[in-house]
């Protein structure tokens, strides 16, 4: 009996030793299955994904020394820190001819000058998602962060609101509501943000970063603070389930957080050759459009625009105009003292 077990164990261990495999460390559901199929055919190799659902999870694992990934897809504000710690290899742009497909406004960000280490992948905006029918019924206004922070508005939707379980996102939204930058680390302003949050907290159902999509689709929750991709999929889910309401995006007028995700190659990647193939493939128009069509992600790729479904292009929260874009900010990384301050405030908020 024991021998059989050992054999089975060994066989499953050696199962993936042989083929050409490219290991991608990516967000959940962040590549369309069609894209994976096409890539595997075009490179005659296998794509193996490992998943994370939060940048910090990925950072913690890499900080502890995890290896074996060929491509990682972090959010761009993390690229600076990863590069400074020597975790990334500089990219050879000659191996990435499709880089020219990316719109110039998304290249050369403050986190990675001249795209030394990363190339853009997809984008999302953190905003408000809501049950259109329910909110119309109750006469709740949308279009501002007040929908989740103003007790007068929250009265009508008490216990039906969730916010993200992320200190930077929730504090960022509160800071924006108060008119500050999402990256404001002035202790006085942070205390004000804390007060705002504590006033609104009794009306919130939960801090939720995962199941809020299902809750929206099933009608249990009516307003969420969430990512634009998720909200798009919540709408799809509700429609597929035959619900009588639609889920809509609302980009608050005070502004919001923009997340630009990027592809990087870690130092010590086992197969950098396949990594370049993968990145170049994902920079192609159709591949990029596949993702947007699947999850409603923002798209920085010029060549992809013609492949994107028209109904998605109309959603202003996913394809914001010039004016709205100026109000979007990207989160910056923090210094250890700042992180400690923010975390203490966050713990205080959650402990009450």
């Amino acid at each position: 009996m024991k021998r059989l077990l050992c054999l089975l164990l060994l066989s499953s261990l050696t199962a993936f030793a042989k083929d050409d495999v490219v290991n991608v460390y990516n967000w959940n559901d962040y590549i369309a299955p069609e894209t994976v199929e096409r890539f595997e055919k075009s490179c005659a190799c296998k794509l193996k994904q490992t998943y994370f659902s939060d940048n910090e999870e990925m950072m913690a694992k890499l900080a502890a020394g995890a290896k074996g990934y060929d491509v990682i897809v972090p959010t761009s504000n993390y690229v600076a820190g990863m590069a400074k710690q020597g975790w990334l290899q500089p990219l050879d742009h000659s191996k990435l001819p499709n880089l020219k497909n990316i719109m110039t406004q998304y290249l050369n960000t403050e986190f990675d000058q001249s795209n030394r280490y990363s190339v853009p992948y997809a984008m999302s905006i953190t905003l408000i998602g809501y049950n259109e029918q329910k909110l119309k019924e109750l006469g709740v206004p949308v279009g501002s962060w007040a929908t989740i922070f103003d007790p007068k508005v929250l009265e009508k939707i008490k216990g039906r609101v969730t916010v993200l379980d992320s200190q930077s996102e929730v504090l960022g939204a509160a800071l924006k509501y108060l008119g500050y930058s999402v990256n404001d680390r002035d202790p006085k302003h942070l205390q004000q943000a804390k007060e705002t949050i504590l006033k609104a907290k009794p009306y919130w159902a939960a801090f939720n970063a995962s199941s809020y999509i299902r809750e929206l689709s099933s009608g249990n929750i009516w307003v969420v603070h969430g990512y634009s991709n998720d909200i798009y999929q919540a709408d799809l889910g509700a429609q597929k389930a035959g619900m009588k309401f639609r889920i809509r995006h609302s980009l608050p007028k005070e502004g919001a957080v923009l997340a630009l995700d990027a592809m990087v190659i870690p130092t010590g990647a086992p197969r950098p050759d396949l990594a370049y193939k993968f990145i170049n493939f994902m920079l192609e128009g159709p591949s990029s459009a596949d993702l947007t069509n699947m999850i409603g992600s923002g798209n920085p790729n010029k060549e992809a625009q013609k492949f994107i479904k028209p109904e998605i292009k109309q959603i202003s929260a996913i394809f914001p105009d010039e004016q709205t874009s100026r109000k979007l900010e990207m989160l910056k990384d923090m210094t250890p003292p700042q992180r400690r301050l923010v975390n203490r405030i966050w713990t205080e908020i959650k402990a009450q």
């Binding site: 009996m1 077990l5 499953s12 290991n23 559901d29 913690a60 249990n220 998720d230």
Partner: protein
């Protein structure tokens, strides 16, 4: 049935109802003709069909099973030895080493094990997961076996020794059968802990190594379709089948005869 047993029966029924309420939902909804796990719509076998086509999910389930069996087997052996040693010999350090892995927060265990594995250049993969699981399962087995041994009558063992049995024979023929229910209980707990572990597995898994809890965690956001219910139901039934087969192959082991 006297008054005492009736009370026991009612209390136990309540306990069983509590244990099975969520499970009923899981199983029933695996046949639900709706992508959302919210309301019952209609009956379908769609999700089971999808499951059988989902290679990643099946691999993950298989890996979880293999890891679970290996880790719990080794942990049971080591844990029984530890439990017996704690009972028999007064070693100061063993109880602490045994209990502490249970107390240490999983994140800490996961991160520190990862650092350690990287430092000793161990290739991460399924094997590293098994090693990590054994570490935290030993304690559970040891504590149960120790409790089972408490108050055991040593005179039987002494009698056997007097009659010429070697310590090993005495252990095998007298002690082991007596503690077997404890060993089995420990093994069941270790297996359960292993196939359901998420945090430690997350950190010690190699690139591309996937277990069921990891896979399901990735699906939690959007695609928690009833496919997950289907795989949970199947995994349960499969494990049950394995145990029934194992007990038929070595009859009497379970009962400690």
């Amino acid at each position: 049935m006297n008054r005492r047993s009736r009370f026991l029966w009612i209390a136990s029924m309540f306990a069983f109802a509590f244990l099975y309420a969520p499970l009923v939902i899981v199983v029933v909804y695996s046949f639900n003709d709706s992508r959302l796990n919210a309301q019952w719509v209609g009956f379908t076998l769609e999700w089971y069909r999808k499951l059988l086509e989902d290679e990643e999910m099946l691999t993950a389930a298989w890996n979880s099973l293999v890891i679970g069996v290996s880790a719990s087997a080794v942990a049971t052996v080591l844990g029984t030895m530890a439990g017996y040693a704690m009972y028999r010999y007064t070693l100061r350090v063993l109880p602490i080493l045994v209990v502490a892995p249970i107390a240490i927060p999983e994140i800490l265990m996961g991160v520190s094990l990862l650092i350690f594995f990287v430092a000793i250049n161990l290739t991460l993969g399924l094997f590293s997961i098994v090693l990590a699981h054994i570490a935290f399962c030993i304690g559970f087995v040891a504590i149960v076996v120790r409790a089972r041994l408490a108050g055991m009558d040593d005179s039987l063992v002494e009698a056997a020794r007097d009659l010429g049995a070697t310590p090993y024979r005495a252990f095998r023929l007298i002690t082991l059968p007596l503690i077997m229910p404890g060993v089995i209980a420990g093994a069941l707990m270790a297996f359960t802990l292993s196939i359901d572990d998420f945090v430690i597995t997350y950190f010690t898994a190699g690139a591309g190594a996937m277990t069921l809890p990891l896979k399901i965690y990735t699906m939690v956001k959007i695609s928690v379709t009833p496919e997950v219910n289907a795989v949970s139901t199947l995994l349960m039934l499969l494990t049950l089948a394995l145990i029934v087969i194992a007990s038929k192959l070595s009859p009497g082991t379970l009962r400690g005869e």
